[in-house]
Amino acid sequence: MSILRRNNVRVTGRAAGRTVVLAHGFGCDQNMWRLVEPVLAENFRVVLFDYVGAGRSDLSAWREERYRELDGYARDVLEVCEELDLRDAVLVGHSVSAMVGVLARAAAPERIGSLVMVCPSPYYLDEDGYRGGFSAEDIDELLESLESNYLGWSAAMAPVIMGNPDRPELGEELTNSFCATDPGIARVFARTTFLSDSREDLRSVTAPTLILECEQDVIAPREVGAYVHSAIPGSRLVTLAATGHCPQLSAPEATASAISAFVSDLGR
């Protein structure tokens, strides 16, 4: 299976424009971007994909050994970039994908020229002198929540949701299918997301970086946004008048225009 098929890659927008890769975070899939993608597509070439294990990716390609490290997700990003032979692309990473972006950029700076971090957090746990906002018990609680909501997950749904990227209507008939993930896969992604510590990686970021945070975000509170901003030299921090962890859904216009402004500035 090709990488494009494996990661359910979709390319839209202005072919001549700068390439903007939108990377979804833990929870859902590339549908998270559906309100900002049309706006960005007016000026840029937009690349959407699902990580292996999410959305309509090829589930059979999922390996726990690979995807229990953020590096495995970064390899997905890099393989998509290589497949499309991207140069100097802007990687927009939501939540955990902001940290995935840091790893991908470090591995292939020629392909990923700059980073946009949407509600990033390099570390979710509280530790001496650092407030990530959560305790290890909180993460266990999340894993429990995941489990109790996957009672409705049926393995029979998987081929319908995952296997038909060309016929999305099949998936849409199924309630909540955007976030439907194999429970075993979701557990691994959750642990990787919430237990990885990427704080050291931030200090070596040399790419032009835009950090988008929300006024109210329980997952990535503002002090975490400030931490990321201070850790990445020369980064730009924009606080959106939005609530929650997904401004691309709750404040799509503001999110899209902040990204557009940053990308447009890069050229100059």
Binding site: D138, E141, L142, L151, I219, G244, H245, S250
Partner: protein, 428 residues
Amino acid sequence: MNAGKGGPGGGVPGTDAAFSALLEDSAEDLYESAPCGYLSTLMDGTIAKINATLLGWLGLSRDQVVGRMRFGDLLTVGGKLYHETHFAPLLRMQGHLGGIALEMRTATGSRLPVLVTSTVKKTDGGEPLLIRTTVFDATDRRAYEEELLRARRAADEARRQAEAERERLHEALAVLQHSLLPAALPDIPGMETACYYHTASASRLGGDFYDLFPLGGDRFAFFLGDVCGKGPQAAALTSLTRYTLRAAALHDPDPVANLSILNTVLLDRYTGDDPRYCTAVAGVLERAGDAVHVHLASGGHPPALVLRGDGRVEHLSTRGGMLIGVLPSAQFVPARTTLHPGDTLLLYTDGLTEARTGDNRELYGDEALESFAAGLAPARPRRVVEALTGLLHGFGDGLDDDTALLALGLPSRTDRTGRTDTGSTTSA
């Protein structure tokens, strides 16, 4: 509907009275005292309206909540994470979300498992306006679900263990199977050797065996045979047979004596109503200038074939040699031949001749094998084994027994390329 057994009024006697009480139930009262929680929030989650039932469950007052708390604030931290990463985005995308399991935290700190359903109310223009949510107490259901989850985890674990167990067993079988055959045939200067082993079933240990090993000087010993039965018991018998024959060959140069020793060992080991026996050909190769003398003996085994360099095929008759391990007085029959350059000695087990062929599934048979060999001769060992391997593959599912092939020969003068050729092929 159970109107007669007491409605919200509780204790009102008679069906008619209960019915009128129900009719008098106002929408407001139904909202406040419904058997489920209701709340409405702004799009950012700020709680605008909440019913008394939910406030009661949470142990909170309306003033503490309305305009001050967001929906997420009512949840446990884990629930909040799930809400932010799954619930809220899905609700935004779908406008509706049903039957999500979350946990709320009450004023006393206890947890309340709930099932939540939310709908986004939109303006006439289609803009999202507010979120309406119903909350059901799911304590009992959650306890049941936890049982299910526990059972599933236990089943998953049991399956993992069973798979690991099966894997270990598979490896053990493979190791055992390998121990019954030589890892590689030894290099015999001036001779070419080839072998093949077909396993009828990967999961059942086979009952055929062969070996070729040095006796010192210019002499080598070989044997090939077939034990009765299949599986672990056959493997144990094969192991005993193989090591007995090896030891006997090192001890005594006479193949007949070697088979007699094996006969004694098997009779001693397997007695009474569970006879276990084997058929075997065992022999010695001895170099004599350009030729190799072969001295072999057979017990109940199909005759060895010699493909001569001039194209003839002979079978080495060992008629009358008995099954090994059946009778104390068993007789084994010797045969001798000499291999010259271009000659190949072929040993095989009856998986080959007993294979079923054709529409009538008839036995392939000794005559067919001799004709096949005649078609090949003259042929060096590797060529013979290759051709027979092809023949075996052609039998398909007509070949339902293990089959072992061992070919030993002297390359003809024209075959020689200056290097020692010891082709060896094995397959499972």
